[in-house]
C-alpha cells in the first residue's frame, strides 16, 4: 500500500512548488539518508511525485488504488495528541515485564 505523497511530505494538495520543496528539505533534514535510508527513499519518491504542479495534478487525476490508511495511522502518531503515561502506569507495566520475563538464562 503506497503512502500518499502529500501526507508523507506534510503538504496540502493545493500548494505551490516552493512549499513542496521546503517541506521536502525539512523532511530530509529530519530524516537524513545516512541514518534513515528507507525513510529517506520514501520521502524522495514522494517528492518526485509532487514536485511540480503538473506532477501533483497527474497524481490527483490519475492515481487510483486502495484506500490509504497512512493518514489515519498518522493521526495515531501525531505528536499533538501524544499521551504521557503516569508514573503509576509506568510502574505497572514495569512490574508486568519483570514478572513475565524473569532473569534470562535462569
Amino acid at each position: 500500500m503506497t503512502i500518499d505523497p502529500f501526507y508523507l511530505l506534510g503538504v496540502e494538495r493545493e500548494t505551490d512548488d516552493e512549499s513542496v520543496r521546503k517541506a521536502y528539505l525539512e523532511k530530509i533534514r529530519q530524516w537524513p539518508p545516512e541514518h534513515y535510508p528507507e525513510r529517506f527513499q520514501k520521502i524522495s519518491e514522494a517528492y518526485s511525485l509532487v514536485q511540480t504542479r503538473k506532477k501533483r495534478l497527474v497524481f490527483q487525476l490519475f492515481h487510483r488504488g486502495s484506500a490509504d490508511f497512512a493518514p489515519v495511522k498518522g493521526g495515531f502518531f501525531s505528536a499533538n495528541t501524544r499521551g504521557r503515561p503516569t508514573q503509576d502506569e509506568l510502574k505497572g507495566w514495569l512490574k508486568k515485564v519483570l514478572i513475565s520475563s524473569g532473569i534470562k538464562g535462569r
Binding site: 486502495s66 505497572g92 514478572i99 532473569i103 535462569r106
Partner: protein, 848 residues
C-alpha cells in the same frame, strides 16, 4: 518361517528404569525422565547417582515450567531438586522462578542467604539480577531494600530514581533530567535512566530519544518498554502493525504514548484486510457506524481513490459526502472504464471531463493520457466506438494536438508529436509540428535532435542540415548531426547536378567531402564527384574519383550498386556510365556471396526502392543469381527473416522462395518460413493459396517463434487478411495514424490504403454481415439485378452509424473478395478440397 518364529518368540528384556530415565533426560524430556528416575530410585533408594540424575531432571523441568510462565510450579521443582542433593538451590535461579510465578516476596526472600554471605549485598546489585532488583524496588517492593545496607549505592540510586519518577509525573522534566545525571553508568538503574530520559525527550527531540533507546540492552527488563517508546517516537505510520508484535505491557505503553484508541486500531486492521477488494472496502467505509471513530473528511479521503475500482459505490458516496463536480465524476468513471479495458467509453468519459473542467492544465493532462492509451485489442471496443459516434478524432496525434492547445509549452508533448509525425515520410504536418516545437524550445537539444531526425527522414535535407548545424554548435562531435550535414550538402549537390549547374554542385560536394570523417567515408561523395566530372567531360578525373570510391572499405558490389544508383538518380547519360554497368554485371556474376555483404546489399536495395525512379528491378535481375547462391548461406533466424521480409514486401518472389525454403530446412518447426514459402509460391496472393494451406498458414502463425518481430507478424496478418478469411487485428488507434481527415475519399484508394482504413471496420462487421451479403448477392444475381452491389449497400447501410459510402465500399470489397463459384468450379472444389474447407466456406457454397 524361521524368521517368523524368531519374531514371534522374540521379546527384549525389560529396560531398567534408570537407563530409560537417563535417555529421557538426555533428550530433554524432563517430565518422563522424572517419572522413570523416581521408579528407579524406589528400587534403589540409596543410589547417589540416581538422586543426582533426578535432581538434574527436576532442574530441567523447573526451567521448562518457568519458560511456560509457571514460575511457582518451577520453584517447587527446584526445591525438590535441592532436597535430593541436600544442597540449597541456586538463589538467583530460585529468585527468577518465583518472580515468573508472580511471588515477588518469596523471590526476594530467596536471595536472603546470598545477602548473608556477602554481608554488604554487593554481589546482588550487578548484572540482570541487580537490574531486576532495581526494577522491583521501583515498582514498590520494599523488601528489596532490606537486601542492601542503608547507605549502599543501590539504596541511594533507588531514592534518586523515585525522585526522578515523581518529577516526571509532575511534568518537571528539567528537574528530572538533572536528577538523571546522578545515576552513574554502572548503576543497576542505568537502563531505567536511559528509558526515562528517552521518554522525556521523545516528543521534543525524537532523534536523541531514539539514540538513547538504542543503548538499552536486549537482555534488559526495560528493552520491551524501550521498543514501545521507540515505535511511538519514530512516528512512522507504516510501523503501526508492529504494535501487535509487542508484548502486552509494551503494547499498552505504546498505545498510551500514541493515544491510540484500541477500537480504532482494531477497526483499521479490519478495514485494511479488505484492501484486496475495493468494492467491499468502499462499502465498509461508507457505513455510518465509522464516523465516531474517524472524521468525515478522513473517511471521504479514504473512499475516493477506491471509486474507480468500485464504481457501484459512486452514488452511495455522493449521497453520503455530497455531489462531486461533474468532471470529477467523469474522471472516476473514465478510470473505471480503463480498468475494465473499455477504452472507447474511457475516451468518451475523459473527453467529457476535459470539457467540463476549467483548468487548462488538467485538460491538457487528460489529452496526454488519452494519447498514451493502448491500441484497441478487440472488436467489442470498436463497436463501442461506433456507437459513441463513429469516426471521431481519436488518433494519438489528435490527442497530443489537443493537449498542446491547452498547454502549449509542454515539452514532452511536442517531442511525442515530432516522433509520431516523423515516423511517416512526406508528412506535411511534420513541418508545422517542428516549427512550433523549435520556436518554443530553440535551445533544447532533444527537440533539435528529434527535429533533425524527422526532417531527415522526410527527405527535407536542407532543413535537417539547419538543425544539425545548431546541434553541432552545442556539440561539435555529434556523430549523427555530422552525417546529416553531409547528407544535406550531398542532397543539395544532387539537385544542382540534376539542374546541370555543375560548378555549384562541385562546391557543395567539396563541403560534404570536408565534413565527412575520413574513417567513415561511404564513397557517395566521391561517386557524385565522379558523375560531375563525367558530365563535365573530364573522364579521367571521373575515373580517378570512382577509383577512390572503390578503394574505400565497403563491399565492391555495394560500391558498384551505389555508382549505378547515383548515375540513375543524377540522370547521367547511359553511354557515359556504360562501362560501369558492365563492371557491375561482371562483379555480380562472379562475386562469392557472404552473409554480411548480402545483408548490406539487400538493405541498400530496400533503401533504393524508396526512390521510384531508380531501376531497382533491373538491378535485382542482375543480382538474382547471386542472391539465389546466397540463399543457402548460414544466416541467423533474425537476419533471414529480415531478408525474407524485404523480398516479400517488394515482390521478389523467386528469390524469396529460395530464402524461405532454406529457412524451412534450417528451422523446420519455425512457422514464419512456412509463411514466406507459401507467400512466395502464391506470389503474395492469398487467394491463390488453397484452403488447406491456409490452415497450415494459420498454424504457422501460432507456432512461430514467440520473439517474432512485428514486421514479420505484420506481413503475415496483411497477407491473411487480404481474403477476409481470418480475423484481422483491429488497429484503430494507430501510432502512425496522423490523418485528421474524416472524409476519406475511398474511390482513389488502392487496396493497401483501403485495408488500412477499413480493416478494423471490416474485421468488426464481417462476421455479422458477410454471410448476408453473399446470400443476397447470389439471390439478386439469380433475379437478374445487375446493380445488386449498390442497392444492397444502400439497404444495409440504413441505421448504421457510419456513412453509406464507407459501408458501400465494405460490401463491394467483400463481394470482390468472395467471387461466387460457378457450378463447375464448385464441383471441382468439392472434389479436391472437401476435407479442408472452412465451415464458413461450406456455408457459402451450399447456401443455394
Amino acid at each position: 518361517m524361521a524368521q517368523k518364529r524368531r519374531k514371534k518368540g522374540y521379546s527384549s528384556p525389560p529396560r531398567p528404569k534408570s537407563s530409560e530415565g537417563l535417555d529421557h533426560l538426555r533428550s530433554g524430556h524432563f517430565k518422563k525422565a522424572i517419572e522413570s528416575l523416581k521408579l528407579a530410585l524406589k528400587e534403589d533408594p540409596q543410589s547417589a547417582d540416581l538422586k543426582n540424575l533426578l535432581a538434574e531432571a527436576y532442574v530441567g523441568r523447573a526451567r521448562e515450567l518457568s519458560d511456560k510462565g509457571m514460575g511457582q510450579e518451577a520453584a517447587i521443582m527446584l526445591e525438590r531438586s535441592s532436597l535430593l542433593t541436600e544442597k540449597p538451590p541456586d538463589p538467583v535461579m530460585l529468585f527468577s522462578l518465583f518472580l515468573k510465578g508472580g511471588q515477588i516476596d518469596r523471590a526476594v526472600a530467596s536471595l536472603k542467604p546470598q545477602k548473608e554471605k556477602s554481608e554488604t549485598g554487593e554481589s546482588l546489585d550487578a548484572g540482570p539480577l541487580g537490574e531486576a532488583l532495581a526494577g522491583l524496588s521501583l515498582v514498590g517492593c520494599a523488601e528489596v531494600l532490606t537486601l542492601f545496607d542503608e547507605n549502599s549505592p543501590f539504596v541511594n540510586h533507588h531514592h534518586t530514581a523515585l525522585e526522578i519518577l515523581q518529577s516526571y509525573d509532575r511534568g518537571e522534566d528539567d528537574a528530572a533530567l538533572v536528577l538523571l545525571k546522578k545515576l552513574p553508568v554502572g548503576s543497576p538503574f542505568k537502563n531505567f535512566r536511559l528509558f526515562i530520559h528517552a521518554l522525556i525527550l521523545s516528543a521534543s527531540q525524537p532523534e536523541t530519544a531514539l539514540g538513547l533507546l538504542a543503548k538499552v540492552g536486549e537482555d534488559s527488563f526495560f528493552h520491551p518498554l524501550a521498543q514501545a517508546v521507540k515505535l511511538a517516537t519514530a512516528s512512522d505510520p507504516s510501523q503501526i502493525d508492529a504494535l501487535s508484535s509487542l508484548s502486552s505491557p509494551a503494547s499498552d505503553l505504546a498505545r498510551r504514548l500514541l493515544n491510540i484508541d484500541a477500537d480504532a486500531l482494531r477497526t483499521v486492521s479490519q478495514l485494511e484486510s479488505l484492501a484486496s477488494n475495493p468494492d467491499k472496502l468502499a462499502k465498509a467505509l461508507l457505513k455510518p457506524g465509522l464516523e465516531p471513530l474517524f472524521p468525515r473528511e478522513v473517511l471521504k479521503a479514504l473512499c475516493l481513490p477506491l471509486l474507480p475500482s468500485a464504481i457501484g459505490q459512486l452514488e452511495p458516496f455522493q449521497q453520503r459526502f455530497g455531489h462531486l463536480p461533474p468532471w470529477e465524476v467523469q474522471r472516476i468513471r473514465a478510470l473505471a472504464m480503463e480498468e475494465q479495458n473499455r477504452w472507447s467509453s474511457a475516451v468518451a468519459e475523459w473527453k467529457k471531463a476535459a470539457d467540463n473542467v476549467n483548468d487548462p492544465m488538467i485538460k491538457a493532462l487528460i489529452y496526454q493520457r488519452l494519447a498514451g492509451f493502448p491500441h484497441f485489442q478487440d472488436s467489442r471496443n470498436l463497436w463501442e466506438m461506433f456507437q459513441s459516434g463513429g469516426r471521431e478524432k481519436n488518433s494519438r496525434a489528435d490527442f497530443l494536438e489537443s493537449s498542446l492547445r491547452y498547454d502549449p509549452k509542454d515539452r514532452d508533448t511536442h517531442l511525442a508529436l515530432i516522433h509520431l509525425h516523423g515516423k511517416k515520410k512526406n508528412n506535411p504536418k511534420v513541418r508545422t509540428t517542428l516549427d512550433r516545437a523549435v520556436r518554443e524550445f530553440p535551445e533544447d537539444r532533444e527537440i533539435l535532435e528529434a527535429a533533425m531526425d524527422a526532417t531527415f527522414a522526410a527527405g527535407t535535407f536542407k532543413k535537417a542540415g539547419t538543425f544539425a548545424e545548431k546541434i553541432l554548435s552545442f556539440n561539435p562531435i555529434h556523430h549523427r548531426a555530422h552525417s546529416v550535414m553531409v547528407e544535406s550538402h550531398l542532397a543539395h549537390a544532387r539537385k544542382k547536378i540534376k539542374e546541370r549547374r555543375l560548378d555549384l554542385a562541385n562546391k557543395e560536394l567539396l563541403v560534404a567531402e570536408s565534413l565527412e570523417k575520413k574513417h567513415a567515408r561511404s564513397g557517395r561523395v566521391q561517386v557524385c564527384q565522379a558523375m560531375v566530372a563525367f558530365l563535365n567531360g573530364q573522364g579521367p578525373e571521373g575515373e580517378e574519383k570512382l577509383r577512390l570510391a572503390r578503394s574505400l572499405p565497403t563491399h565492391p558490389l555495394e560500391t558498384e550498386l551505389m555508382i549505378q544508383a547515383e548515375a540513375a538518380r543524377l540522370k547521367v547519360p547511359s553511354d557515359i556510365v556504360k562501362k560501369n554497368e558492365l563492371t557491375f554485371k561482371a562483379l555480380s556474376k562472379n562475386a562469392v556471396p557472404d552473409t554480411s555483404s548480402i545483408l548490406k546489399l539487400i538493405q541498400n536495395i530496400e533503401h533504393y526502392l524508396e526512390e521510384k525512379s531508380l531501376p531497382v528491378k533491373h538491378w535485382m535481375e542482375i543480382l538474382q543469381p547471386l542472391f539465389i547462391k546466397a540463399a543457402v548461406l548460414t544466416f541467423t533466424m533474425e537476419e533471414r527473416r529480415l531478408i525474407c521480409n524485404i523480398l516479400l514486401e517488394n515482390n521478389f518472389f523467386n528469390i524469396l522462395n529460395h530464402f524461405a525454403k532454406a529457412g524451412q530446412k534450417q528451422w523446420a518447426e519455425e512457422g514464419s518460413f512456412i509463411f514466406f514459402s507459401l507467400s512466395a509460391q502464391s506470389e503474395g496472393n492469398v487467394l491463390a493459396v488453397r484452403d488447406g494451406r491456409i490452415g497450415i498458414l494459420e498454424e504457422a502463425m501460432h507456432s512461430t517463434d514467440s520473439r517474432l518481430d512485428t514486421r514479420t507478424m505484420g506481413n503475415m496478418e496483411k497477407f491473411l487478411s487480404a481474403s477476409f478469411l481470418t480475423p484481422r487485428r483491429p488497429v484503430f488507434f494507430d501510432d502512425d495514424d496522423d490523418d485528421d481527415d474524416d472524409d476519406v475519399d475511398f474511390s482513389c484508394m488502392d487496396d493497401t490504403d483501403f485495408e488500412s482504413e477499413l480493416g478494423p471496420i471490416v474485421a468488426l462487421l464481417k462476421g455479422e454481415i458477410e454471410s448476408r451479403v453473399v446470400r443476397e448477392h447470389k439471390l439478386r444475381r439469380k433475379m437478374g439485378d445487375k446493380k445488386y452491389g449498390e442497392s444492397l449497400a444502400k439497404e444495409l447501410a440504413q441505421g448504421l452509424p457510419m456513412g453509406k459510402e464507407i459501408f458501400g465500399e465494405i460490401i463491394r470489397k467483400i463481394l470482390e473478395n468472395n467471387p461466387l463459384p460457378d457450378h463447375g468450379t464448385k464441383k471441382q472444389s468439392e472434389k479436391s478440397d472437401a476435407g479442408h474447407r472452412s465451415p464458413r466456406q461450406l456455408e457459402i457454397e451450399f447456401d443455394d
